[in-house]
Symmetry: C2
């Protein structure tokens, strides 16, 4: 049980995604002392969604017997292009949002200062501040999930570039003649190694008669297929699923080698739902491929690791963002 002392100086981190919203109350040591989760319901429109974020924050506060007034600041990671200075979500295709003043609206509802960043930047910030105790100067964060995003820590600080959109590593082209991506190009990293890409490949092969344990587990249409199902099928000896996941891991390794060649970070940290479920199946292949592809002399001492924060990277990073604004 946290003592009363830990309840001073609390901040809230929010992970605002296309399907779910997580909120966590964090004490001064970045321990999570209260949390809540609600679904996003993006189809109900902007106002409803913003209301649900506020509700999620209130529930997390209530869970640890605090009052919202005791919270210093709130940090939010939002999916898409974010202008952190104006506090607007510029463009979030998964939500159907354009130019939404999220900071202002939430501050109206919650009466606390709110700070906004891109979700993958926030996750990278969380991993950097809370997990990487040695404080490497350059870190690349890669998050494998429905899509693929990234965040860059350069010279010890979150790097966002001229239009504040840096870190869009999911749309790095790895295979010009590769499969079509949601962005309209072909062969983006995201079109080759995201959960969406893996599921698409599996479903296409099944349609063409490929046998897999997944159809035994979930039926011929593979309804409600999830990353965890892939892990289960591989553990039960499904060589087809194993091969598809290995391919995604190889593409991820090539993406990592590109980032090492370009940015030469000290640490590459990989997270996201896909990685959380399939670390045992993917990480070793990612590391081996990246080390094989990167230029000689570039990889000495560089670490490629999986984050231990798992699904908490977003709320932790939100709390780090919030904390930065109390200093």
């Amino acid at each position: 049980m946290p003592g009363e002392n830990d309840k001073k100086d609390c901040v809230i981190g929010v992970d605002f995604g296309g399907t779910k919203i997580l909120a966590g109350v964090f004490d001064a040591k970045f321990e999570c002392i209260g949390r809540a989760r609600v679904s996003t319901k993006a189809d109900r429109g902007t106002e409803e969604v913003i209301g649900r974020i506020a509700r999620c924050v209130r529930e997390a506060v209530e869970e640890c017997d605090l009052d919202l007034k005791q919270i210093k600041t709130i940090g939010i990671g939002a999916p898409g292009a974010v202008d952190s200075e104006s506090g607007k979500v510029i463009f979030a295709p998964n939500l159907g949002w354009n130019d939404v003043p999220l900071k202002k609206e939430l501050e109206k509802l919650l009466e606390r200062p709110v700070f906004l960043e891109n979700d993958c930047n926030v996750c990278t910030l969380g991993v950097y501040e809370v997990e990487l105790k040695a404080k490497p100067r350059e870190v690349v964060g890669i998050f494998l999930g429905t899509g693929i995003g990234g965040g860059l820590i350069l010279e010890g600080k979150l790097y966002s570039g001229f239009n504040r959109t840096a870190g869009e590593i999911g749309h790095m082209v790895l295979e010009v003649s590769g499969p079509k991506c949601g962005c309209g190009n072909k062969g983006c990293f995201e079109a080759l190694a995201s959960r969406t890409a893996i599921f698409r490949k599996i479903k296409e092969a099944v349609k063409e008669g490929q046998k897999t344990l997944l159809t035994e587990m979930l039926g011929p249409e593979l309804e409600d297929l999830r990353s965890g199902d892939l892990r289960k099928a591989i553990k039960r000896g499904d060589k087809f699923v194993e091969h598809i996941v290995e391919e995604a891991a190889e593409y991820t390794g090539i993406a990592v080698s590109n980032l090492i060649n370009i940015l030469n970070p000290e640490v590459v940290v990989i997270g996201g739902g896909l990685m959380e479920q399939l670390e045992d199946e993917m990480l070793a292949i990612i590391v081996e491929t990246a080390m094989d592809y990167a230029m000689p002399g570039t990889t000495k001492g560089i670490e490629i690791i999986a984050t231990r924060l798992g699904d908490d990277a977003g709320i932790t990073g939100g709390a780090v963002l919030a904390r930065k604004h109390t200093e």
Copy 2:
């Protein structure tokens, strides 16, 4: 004619390449007041090459009626992996060099302080300090020649990363299943868009019976083929050469879009011998492809330009490096 006043406070920049060495004496306004050029003769061994660099420096100094003692510092860009702190060339495959203490040896021969950096970093530094008057905070330099290299200016400073090897953009994989690269991988940017890649494609096609004006100009073996010959053939209506150069420009555009997605620089500046000869044929395609491939919202206000420094980027950057060490 430079007045005596301009001759105070001079530095020297050296562009040390696999085939030629250029040296330039620069005054306080970064005007080149004396220059020299010698061939590298890498096959004659390390000691001979270092002697030739020293000779080139002395010739440039003599050309502007100065004495070496009047030179404050010397800055050199060397091809390959460079440890700028120890002043060693760690690994330069084009020279066959490993772990050569170039700074120390040159300081012995020239009795002036010498500073060393990777050649593409030096070129980027030169373009940044002398050409980009608006001093954008983030710049990516791309140099297309025999190989492809790059340099990064982030937050207004040369960025080199953990092992000081950042900017190896030539070995960014763009086409996993593409042609083999000198580095051992397949489908690197360099294997798709360097002069070497273009020449290889042309020679392969000619062997298979492709007609081109180049064989009329240079004979069936295309001996002594140079970038300028491509320009001449295109100007005379050679659609085959035009197509090969367009393909290289498209790959370059995709590489630029990857770098915009990852780093979101304000300016991307393209140089190198290939670009100098084929700017009219390549730049518009590079810009169009990059803008088409980059994520929506990432390219607003971003400039993609060709450097005006041409072959002088290296000596100018060397002088900038030298000048930084007089301050």
